[in-house]
Amino acid sequence: MGGSRAEILQGTLDLMVLKTLAGMGPLHGYGIARRIEQISDEALQINQGTIYASLVRLMQKGWISGAWGTSENNRKAKFYSITKGGRKQLQAEAENWERIATVVGRVLRAAERG
């Protein structure tokens, strides 16, 4: 079985997705995954599929919205963008950001190791 790492990541992954969407504007799943990997200097090699669980959760909460559009290379893709509610949530979490960053840092180190 996958072990418990992904489950610990879950909350922070949601937050990273929100942050990414807030900074980058509308993106599709692949774009979000790539962006997170880039920001983390490719250190965070996530199983890109897990991004979708995060997207579903955020959609259900109304913090992001999704719409079908056309990608850079002319493919049909679902683009996600942050909503007003999502921005508020992100802002509300700002005070926790430092702590989360530490957690992310720890996860990144863990990810590097193993």
Partner: protein
């Protein structure tokens, strides 16, 4: 399991964030329901999304210089298993709880149908546990928890006087003191007083004895009770000289007055005196007699008995109930009562010095000593359920081991850990539900059985039943129970080592040490719990045996009791009372077979007791704060012969001991021992009695055997007897010793009473042995129930051990086969299994012993003549449990002994 899926944020910020989180949650649920209703679209969209993602990843890989095939493969790896993603997606988007629950339930039902034996054992075990718990809870709920049937019952308190330094923990008031208390306090919105006794209703067909509640008019406003028809008492009804009025209960109105619509305003005769009926109370209004459906109320001032006591400040007979003002705490009430008690003591020292004022909630007063016994029973039946759960958990663990391969395959195919745990839990939930349903059925039956078996002395028996609260309890209990026994197996299943399980094949050959330890621990725990119950039951049984072996001091055999109450308006003078009882005894004794007839008041066990202070003439008066008291009984001369109470010294009473002769008395051995150590009491004089004879000197003419007058379980205290002729009573409480049988004796008494006065009813005819028996009914009942629970516990624990040992033997068939093949004797194989069994039993007993000791301390107050640490009981229980364990282990041990090495070796 990690964090809950929906709590994405480490910690939600406060205030607005909380609202936002709630809105988000509602939106999420709405979205899930939407998707659940039309799953197709969402799934195909997601598939497309994933496809695009894969394509983009592949393109990226190609850009990095991979070949097309390799690029595709790497992209798949990067994205993760598509099937698993789709499954997660479905779970996230739809209503997985509902969806998988339905699926799991169907699957669980199929699994359970395939193993009918297993299912039956689990469901029945659980049903028994739930049923017994629910039944006992219904009693506990009715007696201890259900709101009393009065308005705002939590404000109602009883107020009593107590003299703890003399062991008087709570007693009633005199009317004068009550009136003072009512006037002086500021914490009660209203207070009322009550008493009850029987009055004779005449003028309507056969004379009937009715239960009359004697109340001050305020009682109805204390209880905030409105009449069904007519009115309740007014303050004027309580004044001297007011016209006599009465209120009847709905039950009495229907059954005695034939639902007469003209009853209000008409008059009825009570003890031959006319009362005008002014109201009818609703059927389930009962106060102060809470079990009586047919009763009536009259104002205290009109009562032939207590009415004349109103002016007297001495005495403790009025039961006082009060309603606390809203917002006043019980602490404030008690503080004010302390102050008033002290004030009463100063103002009226003769009657009130040393008396404290105490309060108790109305429920506390009504429930009394039943509470602790009920809680003990609830605890016991809870333990039974716990053992049942341990047993089921064990069965499930065993089964989970043999299903390890199935679960491993599921996990390999992509079932998440949570998913597997959920599936196993839904299996146990289905079991729990089935068990709960049957259990509730059993509970209905159990409640029925319980309420017909419960002694009448248990308060609020009429309120017992299976209502919504009780049903809710049963459902909750089934849920908690199925969670309790389902958790361990599910946890082990989720944490099993995948590779190992797959390698092991059938799951027969072995299991993890953890799991075996868990199973052994459960079995040992069952033994420990069973030990607690068995020790408790053993102690109660021994107590009951001791109680039954106690001699009450009289011989109840062949004694019939009957009561004749004299209307006090007609029979108002003591001379009339004596004349009546003399005449009655003369007539009855003249009949064949009824020579041994006597009157006495109060009779032991039957009538309770009257404790009275006395002085010894010539001795200095007792120091302040202490007093000499003894139980007072007035008897006709042949009472002692009828009851078989032996004379120890001096003489008995005879026909010459009348009001015109010198006053005499007899004392009991205990009294002689206690108050006349190393002296001969015969010839000494005592001063005691009821007004107007209160300060009368009475010569002690003899010593009589001790009698347990209060209860079988209570050591006989000092008692003093006076001749009925010198201390008569407004009625004849008879005891007749006869071999003729209760009904012939009753007929004879009725006939003779009718010849003297045709309006006098004879009531409460009963055989004395039955009354003595009924006096221990509660004790017998709780002993019986606890023994029943202990028996269930023993059976369950035995099954548990049997299960564990059989499973352990079947797991080791292989090993045993090899040992047999290598020449091990069948004795050594048997010994090995026995050792394992005994080890389990010993561990269980070691855990159980301290628990049992603690439990017996808890039930110490229910014991009689047996120490809570009775070594005989403890030893017998330990030995018995070890024996049962050995027997439970014997069957599998025999099987191990007969293992055929060839079969065993092929077993793999």
């Amino acid at each position: 399991m990690g964090a809950d899926r929906d709590s994405c944020w480490p910690r939600a910020a406060r205030g607005g964030a909380r609202v936002r989180a709630m809105l988000a949650w509602i939106r999420a649920v709405a979205s899930r329901i939407r998707v659940w209703l039309s799953p197709g679209r969402a799934n195909s969209e997601f598939a497309q999304e994933l496809e695009e993602h894969l394509a983009m990843l592949t393109e990226e890989n190609v850009r990095r210089g991979m070949g097309p095939e390799e690029a595709k493969r790497a992209a798949r790896m990067r994205l993760g298993g598509v099937t698993q993603l789709a499954e997660t997606n479905r779970e996230l988007k739809g209503l997985p709880v509902l969806e998988t629950f339905l699926k799991d339930t169907r699957y669980a039902l199929r699994m359970l149908r395939k193993n009918p034996g297993f299912t039956a054992v689990v469901v029945l075990t659980l049903a028994l546990g739930i049923g017994a718990n629910t039944a006992i809870f219904s009693v506990v709920y009715a007696v201890l928890l259900k709101p009393l049937p009065y308005a705002q019952p939590e404000q109602l308190v009883t107020v009593f006087q107590a003299k703890p330094q003399e062991g008087v923990m709570g007693t009633g008031w005199s009317y004068a003191n009550f009136a003072e208390l009512r006037k002086q306090n500021h914490v009660f919105s209203e207070m009322g007083g009550s008493q009850f006794h029987q009055l004779t209703l005449t003028g309507r067909g056969e004379p009937a004895v009715v239960n009359a509640s004697i109340v001050t008019p305020e009682v109805f406003s204390v209880l905030e009770e409105k009449p069904l028809v007519g009115r309740v008492f007014l303050a004027e009804d309580g004044k001297r000289g007011a016209p006599a009025v009465a209120i009847v209960s709905e039950g009495l109105w229907r059954e005695v007055f034939g639902a007469d619509s003209n009853l209000i305003g008409s008059s009825i005769n009570l003890d031959k005196r006319s009362f005008t009926v002014v109201g009818i109370m609703r059927g389930n209004f009962r106060f102060p007699q809470v079990t009586e459906t047919k009763q009536l109320w009259i104002p205290l001032v009109q009562d032939p008995l207590f009415g004349s006591w109103i002016e007297r400040r001495g005495g403790h007979w009025l039961r006082v109930i009060a309603r606390a003002k809203p917002g006043v705490s019980m602490v404030q009430v008690q503080a004010e009562m302390d102050a008033i008690g002290a004030r009463l003591g100063k103002e009226f020292p003769a009657e009130n010095d040393g008396w404290a004022v105490r309060i108790a909630s109305l429920r506390q007063m009504m429930v009394g000593n039943v509470k602790s016994a009920l809680l003990v029973l609830l605890g016991a039946v809870g333990l039974v359920l716990l053992i049942a759960c341990a047993n089921i958990a064990n069965l499930l663990l065993t089964r989970a081991t043999s299903r390890a391969r199935e679960i491993a395959v599921r996990a390999t195919l992509g079932a998440g850990r949570g998913r597997i745990v959920r599936q196993l839990l839904s299996e146990t939930a289905v079991l729990g539900l089935l068990g709960g349903l049957i259990g509730i059925g059993l509970a209905y039956w159990g409640v029925h059985a319980l309420s017909s078996l419960l002694p009448e002395s248990v308060p609020r028996v009429n309120a017992i039943g299976v209502d919504n609260t009780v049903l809710g309890f049963a459902v909750l209990l089934s849920a908690v129970a199925s969670f309790a026994f389902g958790l361990a197996p599910a946890w082990f299943a989720a944490n099993s080592n995948l590779q190992a399980s797959l390698r092991e094949g059938g799951g027969r050959a072995g299991e993890s040490g953890n799991r075996r330890r868990a199973r052994n621990l459960l079995a040992a725990g069952e033994i420990a719990l069973a030990m607690v119950l068995l020790v408790a039951a053993g102690l109660l049984l021994r107590s009951f045996g001791k109680l039954m072996a106690v001699s009450p001091g009289f011989d109840a055999q062949h004694i019939v009791k009957a009561d004749i109450s004299l209307p006090q308006f007609q029979y108002s003078k003591p001379q009339q009372w004596t004349a009546f009882s003399d005449e009655l005894l003369r007539r009855i004794q003249a009949r064949p077979g009824l020579r041994d007839a006597a009157v006495a008041v109060p009779r032991p066990i039957v009538d309770g007791f009257v404790n009275l202070g006395f002085d010894i003439v010539g001795n200095p008066p007792v120091s302040a704060g202490s007093s000499r008291t003894a139980d007072y009984v007035s008897v006709s001369p042949n009472y002692f012969r009828v009851m078989g109470i032996p004379l120890m010294a001096g003489r008995l009473f005879d026909a010459h001991d009348t009001l015109s002769a010198p006053r005499v008395s007899l004392i009991s051995e205990a009294m002689a021992r206690h108050y006349f150590p190393n002296q001969d009491p015969v010839g000494k004089r005592l001063t005691f009695g009821f007004p107007p004879d209160g300060a009368m000197e009475r010569e002690i003419v003899g010593i009589i055997g001790d009698v347990r007058d209060v209860a079988l379980g209570q050591e006989p205290g000092p008692m003093m007897y006076v001749p009925y002729g010198q201390a008569p009573f407004w009625g004849a409480n008879m005891v007749v010793k006869s071999t003729l049988g209760v009904s012939s004796v009753a007929a004879a008494i009725r006939e003779e009473v009718r010849r003297i006065d045709k309006d006098l009813p004879v009531t409460d005819i009963a055989a004395m042995p039955e009354i003595v028996d009924a006096s221990v009914a509660q004790t017998r009942f709780r002993t019986f129930l606890l023994a029943l629970f202990a028996g269930m516990a023993l059976l369950l624990a035995a099954t548990g051990i049997f299960g564990v040992i059989s499973y352990s033997v079947s797991c080791r068939t292989n090993e045993i086969g090899i040992r047999v093949a290598l020449g091990a004797s069948s004795g050594s194989i048997l010994g090995g299994v026995f050792r394992e069994t005994l080890m389990l039993a010993l561990v269980g007993l070691a855990i159980g012993l301290p628990c049992a000791l603690a439990a017996s301390r808890l039930i110490g107050h229910l014991l009689f003549g047996v120490s809570a640490y009775d070594p005989a009981t403890l030893g017998a229980v330990a030995l018995g449990l070890a024996t049962v364990a050995a027997m439970a282990g014997y069957v599998p041990a025999r099987r191990a002994m007969r293992v055929d090495p060839m079969v065993a070796l092929r077993h793999e």
